[in-house]
C-alpha cells in the first residue's frame, strides 16, 4: 500500500500520457486532458500545503520562543494578514464574485506595496554580487578561461551602444569585426551550438529519468534510494 500503490499510479498515469501522444483519439485524448486538469488542481492544493507547513514551522518557533521567534512572528503576521484579505476578498471593489487581485483590493495593495518591492529588490541584489564575483573570481588562467572572459567582454560591449561607437570606423570589408556584429555572430553560431549540445544531453537525461520513474526503476520520489 505504502509503496506499491504509488508505483502503480505513476506507471498508469505516465504511460497513459505517452500513449496519448501517439494515439490522440478517444478515450486517450480525454483521459490526457482530464489527468492534466487534475494535476493543475492538485498543484493548487500543493500551494495550500506549503502555506500550512510554513504556518506550522514558524508557529512552533514562535510558541517555543526559539531563536528567531520575532522574525517567525513577522512571517506569520504577513502570512495570516495576506491570507485573510485574500481568502475573504476583503476590501475588494468587486466583492466575493470579482477577481481576487483586482486593482484597489486589499490583497492587491498587499501585493503592490509588500510583495512586489521585496521580490524585485532581492533579485536586484544579485547585480552587486555578480560584479564582486567578476572582480574576485574570473581569472584568465588558461585558454579555456580566457575564451570565456573574451566572449563575455565582447557580449557585454556588443550589447550596448558602445559597440558601434568603438568599432564603427572599421571598413565595410571588416564589418564582421565590429563588436556588435561579433556579439551577434557569437550568439547565433558558437553559443547556439554549445547550448544545443547541452540541450541534447539534457533531453536524453530527462527522457531516461522519466522512463526510470514511470517503470519504477527509480523510486527516489517515494523516499527510497533506488
Amino acid at each position: 500500500m505504502k509503496r506499491t500503490v504509488p508505483l502503480i499510479i505513476t506507471f498508469i498515469v505516465g504511460t497513459l500520457l505517452i500513449v496519448a501522444a501517439f494515439v490522440p483519439h478517444y478515450p486517450f485524448d480525454k483521459w490526457n486532458n482530464d489527468f492534466n486538469e487534475f494535476f493543475n488542481i492538485i498543484q493548487a492544493f500543493a500551494f495550500i500545503l506549503g502555506g500550512a507547513n510554513l504556518m506550522r514551522m514558524h508557529g512552533r518557533r514562535l510558541v517555543e520562543r526559539g531563536a528567531g521567534a520575532f522574525y517567525s512572528g513577522v512571517c506569520l503576521a504577513g502570512f495570516l494578514g495576506m491570507m485573510t484579505v485574500g481568502l475573504f476578498k476583503l476590501g475588494n471593489p468587486a466583492g466575493l464574485t470579482g477577481d481576487v487581485d483586482v486593482t484597489g483590493s486589499w490583497f492587491e495593495i498587499g501585493y503592490r506595496y509588500l510583495f512586489s518591492p521585496t521580490s524585485a529588490t532581492i533579485y536586484a541584489l544579485l547585480a552587486f554580487f555578480i560584479a564582486s564575483a567578476s572582480y574576485r573570481a574570473f581569472r584568465a588562467k588558461n585558454t579555456e578561461a580566457s575564451l570565456l572572459l573574451v566572449t563575455a567582454m565582447v557580449i557585454l560591449l556588443g550589447r550596448t551602444f558602445l559597440g558601434p561607437v568603438l568599432t564603427g570606423w572599421l571598413p565595410p570589408s571588416l564589418s564582421f569585426f565590429e563588436i556588435s556584429n561579433l556579439a551577434s555572430w557569437f550568439m547565433s553560431v558558437p553559443v547556439q551550438a554549445g547550448n544545443r549540445a547541452i540541450m541534447l544531453g539534457v533531453a536524453l537525461g530527462i527522457v531516461s529519468l522519466s522512463l526510470k520513474v514511470i517503470l519504477a526503476i527509480d523510486r527516489s520520489h517515494l523516499g527510497d534510494r533506488g
Binding site: D29, N32, N33, N36, E37, F39, N40, Q43, A44, F47, A94, T97, G98, D99, D101, V102, T103, E108, Y111, R112, F115, S116, P117, S119, A120, I122, Y123, A124, A127, F128, I130, A131, S132, S134, Y135, R136, A137, F138, R139, A140, L149, A152, M153, L156, L157, R159, T160, F161, L162, P164, S180, S184, M187, S188, V191, Q192, N195, R196, M199
Partner: protein
C-alpha cells in the same frame, strides 16, 4: 618579498562603484539610437506580417523580480499588436503574472488605444496553476481550463473567445517569460505539437538557453533589456507617433544609459581583477 603589488579592493567599494555607475546616468535620461539585430527584427516581422483581426495569444509569465526587464517588452508587444489591430488574449502560468497583465493593460492598452474594446479586441483569461499541464490541456480545449475570463464572465459569452476551441485557433503565441514555465514550455507543448508560430521576449539569463530553438521552433526572440530597446526603436521607426517620447514612455531605451555604464564597470572590474592577480602573483614569485 619584492615587486609592485596592487591592493585588493574591498567588496563594499565594488558595491559602491556598481551603485554609482547605475545611479549617475539615471539623472541624465540618455536615450540613444539602437540598431536592431536580425533576431529581434524577426519577432517584429512575425507581428507586423499578421493581418488585422488575427488572433494573438500573449502569455505573461513573469514576476516582480524580472519586471524591470520584461515590462518594457510586454508594453512594446501590446502597442505593436494594438497598432496592427490584432485580437489579443492574455493569460499567465505564473501567479504574479496576472498583476503584470493588469499593469500593461492599464498603463498602455486602455489609455493609448481607447477604441480597443474588451471582449471584442482583447480579453484577459488570468492565471491557472499547472505550468506545462495547462498548455497541454488548452492546446486541445481552452475552455476546459479557462471556463471564464479573469472577471468571471463565461468565455462563450465573450465575442472574442466564443468561437475559440483551442490554441490552434491562434495565429501567433507571443510569450513574455522569466523562467519556468515560460517560452520553452510554450515551444515544447504548444508550438511544436500544435504547429503554432511562437515568438518570445525573455530575460537575458534565459535567452542563450533558448537560442537553439531559433529559427525553426522560435520565430525570433528578445533577450533582455537591450533587445527590448531594439524592439522599441523598430516600433518608433514604423509608427512615427511614438517619436513623442514625452507622451509615450519607452523604458528600455532610457535604461540603456545606466546599462552601458554598468557593463563598462563590470569589464573594468574583470580587467582590474585579472591585473591584480597576475601582478601580485609575479611579485610573490619574484620574492620567493
Amino acid at each position: 618579498m619584492s615587486g609592485f603589488r596592487l591592493p585588493e579592493i574591498d567588496r563594499r567599494l565594488v558595491f559602491a562603484i556598481v551603485a554609482a555607475v547605475v545611479v549617475f546616468p539615471i539623472f541624465f535620461r540618455l536615450s540613444l539610437p539602437e540598431v536592431p539585430s536580425t533576431i529581434v527584427m524577426n519577432v517584429f516581422d512575425s507581428v507586423e506580417s499578421l493581418p488585422a483581426g488575427a488572433m494573438v495569444l500573449m502569455p505573461m509569465d513573469f514576476d516582480p523580480g524580472s519586471e524591470a526587464e520584461l515590462q518594457p517588452m510586454a508594453r512594446a508587444f501590446v502597442r505593436h499588436c494594438a497598432e496592427k489591430k490584432l485580437r489579443i488574449t492574455f493569460l499567465t502560468l505564473w501567479g504574479t503574472g496576472s498583476q503584470m497583465i493588469e499593469r500593461v493593460t492599464k498603463d498602455v492598452l486602455i489609455p493609448e488605444f481607447p477604441d480597443y474594446q474588451y471582449g471584442r479586441d482583447w480579453v484577459n483569461l488570468g492565471y491557472k496553476p499547472g505550468m506545462e499541464s495547462v498548455i497541454t490541456v488548452i492546446l486541445n480545449d481552452l475552455k476546459k481550463t479557462f471556463p471564464t475570463d479573469v472577471s468571471g464572465k463565461n468565455l462563450d459569452d465573450i465575442p472574442l473567445t466564443r468561437d475559440v476551441r483551442n490554441l490552434r485557433n491562434y495565429n501567433l503565441i507571443l510569450s513574455v517569460s522569466a523562467g519556468y514555465a515560460g517560452t520553452k514550455e510554450w515551444v515544447q507543448f504548444a508550438g511544436d505539437p500544435g504547429q503554432i508560430p511562437v515568438a518570445a521576449g525573455m530575460t537575458a539569463v534565459q535567452a542563450p538557453l533558448n537560442y537553439p530553438y531559433y529559427p525553426r521552433q522560435l520565430k525570433g526572440l528578445l533577450g533582455g533589456v537591450k533587445a527590448a530597446a531594439e524592439y522599441e526603436s523598430l516600433l518608433i521607426k514604423k509608427y512615427p507617433r511614438y517619436e513623442d517620447q514625452q507622451k509615450y514612455r519607452f523604458e528600455a531605451l532610457t535604461r540603456m544609459g545606466p546599462q552601458t555604464f554598468a557593463h563598462l564597470a563590470v569589464i573594468g572590474l574583470i580587467l582590474l581583477g585579472n591585473a591584480t592577480y597576475w601582478i601580485n602573483r609575479r611579485a610573490a614569485q619574484g620574492g620567493a
